[in-house]
Amino acid sequence: MNFYDGFIIPFVVGCAVLFTVVLYKYVRWFVRLPAADKRLVRRNFFSMQTLRGIGEVFSECLLHRRIFRVNPLLGYMHMSLAFGWFLLIVVGWIETIAYLGGRLVPIHGHVFFKYFSTSLPHHPVWGIDFSSVMDALLLFVLSGVLLAWFKRLRSRAMGLRRTTKHTLGDRVALSALWFVFPLRLLAESLTSAIFHNGGFLTGAIGDALAAAMPLRTLSTLESSAWWLYSCALGVFFVSMPFSRYMHIFTEVPLIFLRRWGIRSGEKPKSFDHFQLEACSRCGICIDPCQLQRDAGFNNVQSVYFIRDRRYNMLRPEVADNCLMCGRCEQRCPVGLDLNTLRLNSRSRLHDTPSDRRYDYTAGIDRSSGTGKTGYFAGCMTLLSPKILRAMERIFNASGEEVWWADREGGVCCGRPLKLAGETNAATRMMRYNEELFRRHGITTLVTSCPICLRVFREDYRLEGIEVLHHSEYILRLAKAGRLQIEPGEELFTYHDPCELGRGCGIYEEPRELIRCAGKLVEPAETREEALCCGSSVANTALNDLGQQRIARSVGASLGETGADAIVTACPLCKKAIARGTDRPVYDLAEVVERHLA
């Protein structure tokens, strides 16, 4: 049997370009990985992580389990395209083996098998009617294509209020992809009309076509249809490594590298390429973004940020305009570290170290008190004296002796600078505070600011010092019987601060404390899905009006619970939400203080 015909050329050329470019990219990125990352690969290559990676590739790259969680119809669409196409390829190979045994078949052999196999007897092999199996798989993929068309018209029905605005390259690739499978159906049906070798689908359509037109027309059409099918595949393959469809392959190495322990960091590195090109621009990150919902920004969401960075056209207006609330990261079906990528982009754009700028910190120590428990208020708590006073009373009531790190003013925890991309300056603040904490010999460090908490936990070297958010600390006091909280009748609702909830995974402690003091009612979007207050220090581009719009929307959502008062556990959130609601807004410490026995 001969596997050559003129129409295979577009397909073969497309394949050659695709694999050359993809291989070149992967080798280049891998070679440029830092030595530490390569060590991780060597150490973990032969481990359970690799096996788990294979499982994850199957469930995420083919079945798209995480997208099913966003919306079942959307999940089905992605699964039918990915898994369906994968099965078409695999079963296609099995089909050629079934018919031809071990004979070497060129790469295009199974793709155009229906065309080349007309000389073979058309009957089941190994008891399997391959024509109908392949037809069923084609139907499976076509149902996904139909849904993709439907999504263009009614994205809401598939769980997306807004979809991605695509670039020209993406549109070309997308159009080619849309045509691939209908053209395959047409070409196979036409061949079946002439040679009667189709399955239940292509066979039925072929018979109808054969009845409708003369053989001459059929054979002209057949040749054209195979050409078009091959061209659609060729165009798609050539555009693939340069478009969003690069994600189809890149998610696989990403999953393994991640399993082996490689992460993006505060400075850009080669691993970032795997993350950037694994983004499929599905647009699931757009809907959760409050900058889009409330402040009217349509070009700064993670999907656009990743796209701009990948094509080297990232502007500071896009990189800086992000609350880093983590709501999109929470939903990302590829599990990209969107905040870390955003952060290290900023570091490249802004980090201009000025050696002398923070020299003034040398030798400063304005701390007071003695005690093994240290309290770090942070600048936002110092600007919210009610919280500070509440903490003081709680410490007194529990009989705790406290070392006050910064009540008379101190050095910033460093997180705002880090979030702005000034990582070198941030590091100087961190080292200063670390040294201060050690010098005073504390064993526990309490802070009422989740922004400080997060940087203490993630970036400080504080071996031997336990870092606690005040919610954890106060709850511990209450459980140890050192603090009596009297229950009341007031109905509270709780706002999860981004840095505390999604940032540090603390959801339960504040709620438990609120339930000690009154009743708790949850807002519609809560815990991992909680809204951002809008005043995040991570956003250095949003103006006050935008912040207020978000605050009003958050205030309205919290108000819908019917609660008497709003409680949060972050001084910045407290200030921000107070501007967007007419209900009282308290910090957790204030609520506890009011209910002290």
């Binding site: 110092l382 600007l383 919210s384 004296p385 009610k386 006073r389 009540r407 003013g409 006050d544 009006l545 207020q548 200030k575 107070a578 501007r579």
Partner: protein
């Protein structure tokens, strides 16, 4: 049949509007939510820039209103307005041939700027507290002793995006200068500091008073806002600020911190704006038909404005607007009859 005008608010603008209408032979009813006429001026002690007692302005005005036989309904709060009626909170609907809205402004709630500690620490006051204490006859610290150092902070709740008050309240700069001088007169040994970002002396005699405060009263003006206040162990307050002319941060202990609070749009403006055609400007004050020849006209025929309901104004300006609104009302009613 005689025409009837309803005046919403019995402050200086409303009273002057009623008097001027009476002068043209038009009857009006003043609807006042509190139990007395006079508005916020009742709580003020002396007026800038002449230190005229507020009672000297308010007394004659009230007497004239009484003499003219203007109907005054106190304890009656307007809920909704329309060109032909005013709906009271009580549910009563008063019909009218024209409505003049003179409902004034609200004082900025200083507790919103939590970092200054108003309502948290004992020694933090607002300019309204100072006037009240002067009316009560004594400005004194909680301990009863005289202050040795006082800091005034300008622009609390004015020109501050963080609290949604972008506008300049105009009259607080001169109020701060006036009160600083009054404090210096009461406590000659006391050091008085005014922290400002701009000093805006727009009225007659204001700039002169500002110079006098510096040259004769030795009041210190520091360009830079206070960032936060915190209590000290000896019951005083420590304030942190930056002297932006020198370019250095500074810390200072004071016995009193006075927050010079701004004017914010009246809380009732939102309700009045539900009348079709009536609308608020972005700062929440009611927007007049135009800022030049129509400054007392609303975009709706039959609804007029006077005083601080449309923007921060001083007493004289508010009274002038009351009189001008009365003139435009008379023209409007004359044209209709």
């Amino acid at each position: 049949m005689s025409k009837k005008v309803i005046i919403v608010g019995g402050g200086v603008a409303g009273m002057q509007a009623a008097l001027s209408l009476k002068g043209q032979g038009i009857d009006s009813v003043i609807v006042e939510k509190s139990d007395r006429l006079g508005g916020k001026l009742c709580d003020w002690h002396k007026l800038f820039p002449t230190f005229t007692p507020a009672s000297e302005v308010l007394g004659p005005l009230k007497e004239a209103v009484e003499r003219a036989g203007v109907e005054v309904r106190t304890g009656a709060e307007a809920e909704r307005i329309a060109p032909d009626s005013v709906l009271l909170k009580s549910g009563e609907r008063l019909s009218a041939d024209a409505v003049v809205v003179c409902s004034g402004f609200d004082l900025f709630d200083a507790r919103i700027k939590e970092e200054y500690g108003y309502g948290i620490y004992d020694n933090v006051y607002t300019t309204a507290d100072i006037e009240r204490m002067m009316n009560e006859g004594a400005v004194a610290l909680p301990g009863g002793h005289a202050p040795r150092r006082i800091a005034f902070l300008h622009c609390v709740g004015s020109r501050d995006e963080k609290v949604g008050q972008r506008h300049c309240s105009r009259v607080c700069c001169i109020t701060g200068v006036k009160q600083a001088m009054e404090m210096k007169t009461l406590f000659p040994q006391c050091e008085v500091y005014n922290f400002y970002m701009d000093i805006r002396m727009f009225g007659p005699g204001y700039e002169e008073l500002y110079r006098q405060a510096q040259e004769e009263y030795n009041i210190h003006f520091v360009r830079g806002r206070i960032s936060e206040a915190s209590p000290t162990f000896d019951g005083r307050l420590q304030i942190k600020a930056e002297d932006t002319l020198v370019g250095r941060p500074l810390k200072m202990s004071v016995d009193m911190l006075v927050l010079i609070i701004g004017m914010r749009a009246g809380e009732s403006n939102g309700r009045f704006a539900q009348c079709p055609g009536v609308g608020c400007a972005s700062n929440g004050f009611l927007a007049p038909a135009d800022l030049f020849s129509g400054s007392v006209l609303s975009p709706v025929e039959g609804v007029f404005y006077a005083g601080t309901v449309t923007a921060p104004k001083n007493v004289g300006e508010s009274m002038s607007e009351g009189a001008y609104a009365a003139l435009r009302v008379a023209e409007y009613l004359g044209a209709r009859s």
